[in-house]
């Protein structure tokens, strides 16, 4: 089996680790890109194809196939922001984002959707974006779908996904098969740990190699602290070097000079760099409108084993409730399942002792259903705000109001109904005050009584979006439709932080397609 990254290193790719550079090293490039995830890597591919000298800077460590040993604890603690302990400031919503070369794409679950047409239309009408009509975006999505081998998943869904399919069919709800970005997938189910076979067409094995083949330089283990300005021009950026594990600061600095800078540190990460830089923010828009697709979940014990840890983690979805009350109406949600690995299941239960042990004995029978709330489309869904802690690290304030709670309760009910319709023996919402219910009738009356409150409902997000939002009106946005910063002419922001609302679908292809379009425009401008 060939490991594309190992081979590239052998043939001489320029890959630097920050801790190996002397203190106060200065690097130079035409374009310096901050962050190597969906946005940064796509930008690197397009800009290096145009002949520009690209430097790709990543805070996380370079980990690739040889490190991906399907070990939940090692993977979670090394590949994710804050070792998977990132949360909203009140602790109510757990936040998962990648922190490694390839960013969140190295750990994502390969589920692929184009930006829904409702979302594109809303952005055009309500946020005044140019170039984002369905027709204008289609060629960019097509190009990325080809480049990343995005295809409908033809293997039968695993047991966990089958529960969603079966339950929806029994109730007459829609249930569709997903598109995935894989090539020769072994159907193992470990996408969230770093794909052990390189089948997942993440940035690590696609756009990053493509850029490195064109003389791009990758610098890992370097945390970008801030930009330094001269008038409205960014002159340099300053990085702190991290140790070989990309964990502790070494105390050394690296400085980078470039003609143009691209910020692609992801939602939370990109606004944080600008906040630390004290970048101009005349209309107080920076860090605001950060969206999460807040997720709640219900855990079912099925009568037959479903082995939610084996097989493509997500292959079936239902959009039955996503747009039902209109784009700007009541909260809508997308239904999917989450892979069921033992450590994650134990942690999400917020339980312990014999009760947890009993749940864990049912591991092979456990189905985990999730609902992703579409946030940002309604005036009562303004999103959260990124702030800096005293030590300069970012944290997200995200208020859960009645609008969201209503959507979450509806989702608890809907998922429970679907699980019972698929033959569940018991269902338990992931909520501190819930227990195992043994019938839909019982669940329905009990869920109606559950307090919808912070730290009672178990909530998470793996889709952080916004915080440097796009718009043509500088009073309401940070960048324009091409990702160009309204106040800083040599800065573009090319990642998921520019979405003016959440997507209403898993966001990776929305980022790839949008950044392909924006980076192509930038390449033209710079060459």
């Amino acid at each position: 089996m060939k490991d594309i990254f190992a081979q590239g290193l052998e043939k001489g790719w320029k890959v630097l680790a920050a801790h190996e550079q002397p203190d106060s090293t200065t690097l130079e490039a035409d374009v310096a890109i901050v962050g190597s995830g969906a946005g940064g890597a796509t930008a690197a591919e397009f800009l290096s194809k145009a002949g520009l000298r690209v430097l790709l800077i990543e805070e996380g460590k370079l980990r690739y196939q040889k490190h991906f040993k399907m070990d939940e604890l090692d993977a979670f603690s090394s590949l994710y922001q804050e070792g998977t302990a990132r949360k909203t400031s009140d602790g109510a919503i757990a936040i998962y984002q990648g922190r490694t070369v390839g960013g969140s794409t190295t750990v994502n679950w390969t589920s692929t959707f184009r930006t829904p047409e409702q979302t594109l239309a809303h952005w055009t009408e309500t946020h005044g974006l140019n170039g984002f009509s369905k027709e204008q975006m289609a060629p960019w999505f097509e190009e990325r779908e080809r480049a990343l081998n995005m295809q409908k998943w033809l293997v039968p869904p695993n047991g966990n996904n089958s529960v969603l399919k079966k339950g929806c069919e029994a109730l007459g709800y829609s249930a569709e098969v997903m598109v995935r970005n894989v090539n020769g997938c072994w159907d193992l189910g470990y996408c969230g740990f770093g794909c052990p076979t390189n089948a997942k067409q993440s940035m690590l094995v696609t756009s990053i190699p493509s850029a490195l083949d064109r003389q791009a330089v990758l610098l890992s283990g370097a945390r970008v602290e801030r930009f330094h300005f001269k008038a409205d021009q960014i002159q340099t950026l300053e990085c702190s070097a991290l140790d070989a594990d990309a964990n502790l600061l070494t105390g050394s600095k690296i400085h980078v000079r470039a003609r143009h800078f691209v910020l692609a540190a992801g939602a939370i990460g990109s606004p944080a760099v600008l906040l630390r830089s004290e970048a101009p923010d005349p209309y107080d828009t920076l860090g605001k409108r950060t969206f999460l697709h807040p997720v709640n979940s219900t855990t079912a014990t099925m009568t037959e084993p479903v082995k939610g840890y084996e097989g493509a983690p997500q292959s079936v979805y239902s959009d039955e409730f996503l747009w039902r009350d209109g784009v700007a109406g009541a909260a809508g949600f997308k239904l999917e399942v989450a892979p069921v690995h033992p450590g994650s299941l134990a942690a999400q239960e917020a339980s312990y002792g014999n009760r947890l042990a009993q749940r864990m004995r049912e591991l092979p029978y456990t189905n985990s259903m999730i609902a992703l709330q579409r946030d940002g489309f309604h005036e009562e869904s303004p999103g959260g705000q990124v702030k800096l802690r005293d030590d300069g690290s970012p944290v997200l304030d995200y208020e859960l109001n009645d609008y969201v709670w209503e959507g979450l309760r509806k989702a608890y009910l809907t998922m429970t109904e679907i699980q019972f319709a698929a033959g569940a023996r018991t269902v338990s919402p992931v909520h501190h005050d819930a227990r195992d219910y043994s019938s839909w009738a019982e669940a329905r009356s009990e869920i109606a009584k559950l307090p919808m409150a912070e730290l009672r409902a178990g909530l998470f997000s793996a889709h952080v979006m916004g915080g440097c939002v796009m718009g043509e009106d500088p009073r309401r946005s940070v960048v324009n439709s091409l990702g160009e910063h309204h106040q800083l002419p040599n800065l573009s922001i090319l990642d998921g932080s520019t979405f003016p609302t959440s997507i209403g679908a898993n966001p990776q292809l929305s980022i790839y397609g949008m950044v392909a379009m924006q980076a192509s425009a930038l390449a033209k401008k710079l060459t």
Binding site: K69, T84, A85, A94, N247, S344, Y352, G353, A357
Partner: protein, 201 residues
């Protein structure tokens, strides 16, 4: 998924204050129902000098506290035989240590504060109802304070409860020796033979 962040910023400086203030309202005590079900005899966990080198986050007091918490979190998935108990804890402590070590600067500091607070006898007694050394605390008492933290009206305690159950529960059940018998496939022999990363030493 993980929900292991400790105490949030707003509550950080007030940890001690909240802990002490909150104590009146949080009537802890051994009268609470025994939910852990494990033996009330604590697993005493003296740290050998040679063990110290293994840990990058945990100190001696942490080890004794975490070793007392593991059986409570594990419940009846914790082995019954004393020699197996010792080895179960031996395996789990370095996993917890690695996890905490990699939490990032901010969380590491938060957890350090929480742990240090719980090592101070009076603060520990007031916030948990556990007055004796961790190594002598009955499992029932530990289970009781976990339960009251879970249902406390103070977010601070909810968060601390979640941090303990998340981190220790995650480290315990993600161990292939624990998850294998539950039916988890993990790295099969076929994969071990087929994938290059398992052939390297």
């Amino acid at each position: 998924m993980m929900r292991s962040s400790p105490v949030s910023k707003s509550s950080r400086r007030s940890f001690l204050k909240a802990g002490l203030m909150g104590s009146a309202a949080l009537s802890f005590g051994s009268a609470l129902s025994v939910i852990s079900g494990c033996s009330s005899k604590p697993v005493s966990y003296p740290l050998n000098a040679s063990d110290k080198a293994v840990y990058r986050f945990l100190n001696k007091e942490d080890v004794s506290m975490v070793a007392a918490l593991i059986p409570v979190i594990a419940g009846d998935s914790f082995p019954a035989a004393p020699e197996q108990q010792r080895s179960a804890i031996d395996q789990t402590l370095p996993r917890i240590d690695l996890f905490l070590y990699r939490l990032g600067d901010f969380n590491r500091k938060e957890i350090r504060q929480l742990f240090d607070l719980l090592h101070m006898r009076v603060a520990r007694g007031l916030t948990t109802g556990v007055w004796q050394d961790w190594s002598e605390a009955p499992a029932e008492d530990i289970a009781a304070f976990m339960q009251s933290w879970k249902h406390s009206s103070l977010a601070l305690f909810n968060n601390a409860h979640n941090a303990f159950t998340d981190i220790i529960g995650f480290a315990w059940y993600s161990n292939p020796d624990v998850s294998g018998p539950l039916g988890y496939s993990g790295v099969t022999d076929t994969l071990r033979a087929a994938l290059p990363q398992f052939q390297q030493t």
